[in-house]
Amino acid sequence: MKFARWSLIFVYTLLASLPLLWMALTSFKSREDAISQHARFVPTAQASEDGLRNTFVPTLAPYVALGSVHSGAQHSFWSYLGSSVVIGALSTLASVLLGTSCAYGFSRFRIAGAKDWLFFVLSTRFMPPLAVVVPVLMMYRQLSLTGTHAGLILLYTVFNLSLAVWLMKGFLDEIPRAFEEAALIDGYSRLAAFRTIILPQARTGMAVTAVFCLISAWNEYGFAMTLNSSGAITVPAYFAGLQGNIDGMPWPQVAAGCLLFVAPIVAFTVAVRRHLLRGMTFGTIKQ
């Protein structure tokens, strides 16, 4: 029994991490090493004459190549990464601000039909992007928002509101009402109490919410691809566009780009590891 437990943990940890390790190794290979029929996984300083060896000479060439424009794309990887950063950051900021304000309203005031509103907010998360993309596309064409940063920022802000409202409501509910009631008695206005009492207390909650909003905007693909048919602008849409010819894929560059793209997410995951449960369940499980 004990043996079975440990082997399950060991084998699964291996399976969970191998694809990412393979990605890291591939990002330092030449294309020939990356698609060799004899897996090359041992980095060495000296090239081997024998093609059957499992060694490869690590190179930074794939990372350098990320700076050049790949055939079929309009810009280099860095430009798309920049778009991902701008869109992710601004939409996260907007979601957290709007979400916190809305969550505070639901947490502290008596609102008619509050429960129904909250469930409506949550249910927006269940919509498949592809099922609402046609009306959004028509609306965006009218407003000339297709293919723009502003269009995606707005969309991701709304897309993440459900997460932001639910997570923040959970965090705000945990702040004792007595704090702001005391402030109100001291003559603070509601708004001043919100700013000086609640916001500082809610900082952790807002940071955790921001991380989850950022990750979901960063990873989003359906809207990014369909609303920008003229020129993909975030990294997931850019990568998908490279896919036309699988055998001609520049695998080391793809691996290098993937690695740079997922590295911040891994860092953020480690940073919020104690809040993962909450974030992944919209705050419905708190521990």
């Binding site: 079975a4 943990i9 699964y12 940890t13 969970a16 991490s17 694809p19 990412l20 393979w22 591939t26 990356a34 029929q37 709007l98 304000s101 809305c102 309203g105 005031f109 609102i111 907010v121 249910s123 927006t124 269940f126 498949p128 992007p129 592809l130 099922a131 609402v132 993309v133 046609v134 009306p135 609306m139 709304v158 897309f159 509101l161 509601r190 990750i215 960063w218 990873n219 693909y221 359906g222 691809m225 997931p236 849409a237 998908a240 896919q243 699988i246 894929m249 793809v254 993937c258 793209f261 997922v262 997410i265 891994v266 995951t269 590891r273 992944m280 369940t281 419905t284 499980i285 521990q287």
Partner: protein, 290 residues
């Protein structure tokens, strides 16, 4: 409550709710209106055609096929992830050195972008030089053509999904296991209950409510499956077409905007049904005595 208090309350909640209504309710109504026309992606000509698009959907087996395939994807993915995730949680439950590190490592896949990671899986699963088939060859196991063999494509998408989302099931299972009071196990020990009885009478039933929540959350997500299919086989592939990729194919490849809208309306009915089940479940959970 004074009128300024009422105004303030409105100012707090209105901006977010307005945006949500604008981006969710409006598209819903617009979809319904569009579904009775013959609008196309290119050109602005569109006429009222009545329920013709719906008639086409019910006559074309592609749609029923996509619904069936998505349903079996949801059932298989969620089922496998639940069993595997729960087994992992049971194994990893007790404290050991380096537990935090192992846990974080295990949880990383679920945080990554399916579109980007799915693309890289193409290299792993490649039939000629992929590392997976090379490993299988080393072990002396048959090596399927994961991405090109009709009978294996679906399994490949499932495999990547299981890799990404088993950690999620493990995470919630761990929370469920941790919420079981230790005193119950102590009582069982006094009664000399066998390990099997303890598992069937204490562990599993007490985990069930949270596992149900996990299943519903994961199911609503799997129902949307788009990114992994696009990253591996692409849309319009008879063995992996899901609801979302079929919608993409109709609207953006075939340019049949109105037909896509009609199908989207039907999909939304399905999604709303699942979402309602989810919220009901959540309400029932909240009412449950703690």
């Amino acid at each position: 409550m004074g009128s300024s208090e009422r105004g303030l309350k409105f100012a707090f909640v209105a901006p977010a709710l307005t945006l949500l209504v604008l981006f969710n309710v409006f598209p819903l109504l617009f979809n319904v209106a569009l579904s009775f026309t013959n609008a196309e992606l290119v050109g602005s000509q569109s006429d009222f055609v009545g329920p013709a698009n719906y008639a086409r959907i019910f006559a074309d087996p592609r749609f029923a096929e996509a619904i069936r395939r998505t349903a079996s994807f949801v059932a298989l993915a969620v089922g496998i992830e639940l069993v595997l995730g729960y087994a992992l949680a049971l194994s990893i439950r007790r404290e050991f050195r380096g537990k935090a590190l192992v846990l974080t490592t295990l949880l990383i896949p679920m945080m990554l972008s399916p579109a980007v990671i799915g693309l890289f899986w193409n290299l792993i699963l490649n039939g000629n030089y992929g590392i997976l088939n090379q490993s299988l060859e080393y072990l002396g196991v048959p090596q399927p053509q994961w991405l090109t063999d009709r009978d294996w494509k679906f399994t490949s998408v499932l495999l990547i999904d299981v890799w990404m989302w088993t950690p999620f099931m493990m995470l919630i299972s761990l929370a469920a296991l941790n919420s079981i009071p230790q005193s119950l196990y102590e009582a069982a020990e006094v009664d000399r209950a066998s390990a099997g009885i303890v598992f069937r009478r204490i562990t599993l039933p007490l985990c069930a409510p949270l596992l149900g929540l996990a299943v519903l959350l994961r199911a609503t997500d799997a129902l949307k499956q788009f990114d992994l299919v696009m990253a591996t086989t692409g849309p319009n592939d008879a063995s992996t077409e899901t609801l979302s990729t079929l919608l993409y194919q109709i609207v953006f490849r075939d340019g049949k905007l109105a037909l896509g809208s009609a199908f989207a309306c039907l999909v939304l009915v399905l999604v709303i049904a699942v979402a309602t089940a989810f919220t009901r479940y959540l309400e029932a959970l909240e009412r449950r005595p703690a």
